[in-house]
Amino acid sequence: MTHLLPKTLPSLVLGIFLLLLIWALPGTVVAQGLQIVTTTSTLGMLAREIGGDAVQVRVLAPPDRDPHYLDARPSFMAALRRADLLVEMGADLEEGWLPVVQTSAGNPRILNGREGHFKASSHLQLRRSITMDGPNLGHVHAEGNPHFHVDPLRIAAVAMPLAAHMGTLAPQQESAFMARAEQIAMRIRSHAAELREQVSVGRLLMTYHEDLDYLEEWLPVALVGHLEPLPGIPPSARHLRTLVTELAELRPGVVIHAEYQPARGARFLQQELGWEAKSVRMEPPADARLEDYLDLMQHWVDALK
């Protein structure tokens, strides 16, 4: 027995490795414009409307799935590999999967704090999250409630700083970005003002998770609680019975939940107390334009009527 492959072996393998690299390179597509990756489709809508033809937008989280619980998929890493800008909600909404995607993408530009990273929550005052006071269970959102895409006024407020950030990456487009962002913010705000008139003042609201709470921020509804005992902890039958006892003294309102959340608890309140149970879409389509987000606002308001 002789050692046919002595110490030169590492360099041999390195050579094969380099050959593989060269083989893979022709698959590279030349990118057109600013490559933007957003975690959610609401952020995708903003980037697309602000950027116009100067950008290409890819949304990672499917709009019909809970953004808390995604896998760190390889396809997400491939998308971030060549991205110029990553736009995330922040406040730990994407904490379960985005950090590993960022650090596995081999693209230092989109790491936290770098020029290609934009965190929407940093530009906003968030609602307090129950988890900031509660026991260390379920989700923990120390920076506040991360589901602010349900509040159009906050989404409108993100448009300008996002446009300014995009402008630093494409300086010749900056004024166009800023002008469009201003238009978008105005459209959203005026639509919110119109919709506000369609909801009866003081309508009581229960939500499943602490996500649709943000409806209270721009509509004249009053949030009375959540079906989950703590965010991320599913309600037990006993917890639901306790809720029924507590809510029995109030006039019936509406209990709404995201389409990916279980309907059982809402149906129980409907049967026991005559509350209306509604399931809603949480995000516009992945390729959404501004109109799709305005439609989604209408969809939420319809559920509250």
Partner: protein, 419 residues
């Protein structure tokens, strides 16, 4: 998915002190570290006893001179009754966004072991990343996962018997390159010291007359390619191809009057695949995933026996051991927060052992079923039943049945899992 919090080290000085007995933490206030603790407990019960080791893989051959021999010969080394399972403490920090450092300690009630301790670059451009230190090799699929992420209580047979008790866990460097393609394509290359019992067992020179000699590291080189097509919102898949070559594979065994030494090389190659379906319902209901791996290993050695007294040489031969293994497993979300899974494993479809006149051993099998309940995200309770059909050296099969109950809790900043 997982809650995550950044902890200042100072309040946790006590906990860290447990690990670094006597370590200085006075300047720790400036360090931002993520700390997580995974506590794992396993109740183990043998319902019926079969053959202890799969034929051709008996631990006597592979574990000599290796410090990780858990002494049971048994696949996972659990005692009857209550056991500490794969408990871990991990500490992670970054250095200015340029480097990430990870320390992962595995422990049970008797010992603490460094499972991983490495630095990884974050700041290199063009898809390149380097990792240096002790880490779980990127070959295959399950090899780089920790026990907390497994779908079954125990490690697949092929990972344990073709590589080692901790899979392929080595000290060295790893370079990966993510191609700038629309389809995820990752190339990896590792230069490793070469200490893993199944593919790179190393003993070093044993003195006069013996064939074992010192071989400087790195003695093991591995490479892998991972490919993951984008299958849309509901589905995801990843396929891998990997292999390695050890320029030193050594083994020794003490007989009554002589030492038997093996000295040579080893290589391995394998394929792996995983497919995941996300049903888009709450708490994993309706989700399913399939994964499988196949690995082949060859040990190409010279054998020479040397008597204790007088250094007389006998049994000079050269031979090759050729062995392989396979597993395939599927897990389905039968209800919100409930999962059930099945795993089928085979070890030694090819099972040629060249020692002496040479021998072809039978194939060993194991079949496992599990049921997992996650009352809340960081906690799971798992019951597993394994039917063990290991071949014996004399071609007889013995059927064993094992029951395991696992409780696993993740505390602290347990970060995201890799795909």
């Amino acid at each position: 998915m997982q809650k995550k919090r950044s902890f200042k080290l100072a309040p946790l000085a006590g906990a860290v002190g447990l690990v670094f007995a006597g370590a200085q933490v006075s300047t720790a206030n400036e360090l931002d570290l993520d700390i997580s603790l995974i506590i794992d407990a396993v109740y183990f019960n043998t319902l019926s006893t079969g053959n202890e080791s799969p034929a051709g893989f008996s631990s006597g051959h592979h574990h000599h001179g290796h410090s990780h021999d858990h002494g049971h010969g048994h696949s996972h080394g659990f005692d009857e009754g209550f056991n500490m399972g794969h408990s871990e403490i991990s500490i992670e920090g970054t250095l200015g966004g340029a480097l990430k450092g990870v320390l992962m300690l595995g422990f049970n009630d008797k010992e603490v072991e460094v499972e991983e301790a490495y630095l990884q670059t974050l700041g290199l451009p063009n898809g390149l990343q380097l990792k240096a230190g002790k880490f779980l090799s990127g070959i295959g699929y399950i090899n780089s996962q920790h026990g907390h992420d497994w779908d079954f209580v125990d490690r697949p047979l092929l990972n344990e018997y073709l590589f080692g008790d901790h899979g392929l866990q080595e000290t060295g460097i790893q370079a990966t390159w993510l191609a700038p393609t629309d389809t995820y394509t990752l190339f990896g290359l590792e230069l490793l010291q070469g200490e893993t019992s199944g593919v790179a067992n190393y003993i070093g020179s044993q003195g006069d007359g013996r064939i074992l000699k010192d071989v400087s590291g790195p003695r093991l080189v591995t490479g892998f390619v991972k490919f993951a097509p984008d299958l849309g919102d509901a589905n995801a898949a990843q396929f891998g191809l990997s292999g390695g070559y050890a320029r030193s594979y050594q083994n020794t065994r003490e007989h009554s009057l002589r030492n038997e030494d093996w000295d040579g090389t080893a290589w391995f190659a394998g394929v792996d695949g995983v497919f995941k379906h996300d049903a888009g319902r709450s708490y994993g209901h309706g989700d399913w995933r399939l994964q499988g791996e196949y690995f082949y290993r060859a040990q190409d050695v010279d054998r020479r026996d040397v008597a204790f007294e007088g250094s007389a040489v006998s049994n000079v031969q050269s031979f090759t051991n050729k062995q392989d293994g396979l597993y395939i497993q599927g897990v389905y979300g039968i209800a919100p927060r409930w999962e059930a899974g099945l795993r089928a494993e085979a070890l030694g479809f090819t099972n040629k052992v060249g020692r002496g006149d040479g021998k072809t051993e039978d194939t060993s099998y194991r079949y496992s079923a599990q049921l997992t309940f996650r009352p809340m995200e960081p906690v799971f309770l798992r019951a597993q039943l394994s039917s063990i059909d290991f071949a014996d050296d004399d071609h007889s099969h013995g059927n064993g049945l094992e029951f395991m109950l696992q409780l696993n809790v993740a505390l602290g900043a347990h970060g995201a899992h890799r795909f």
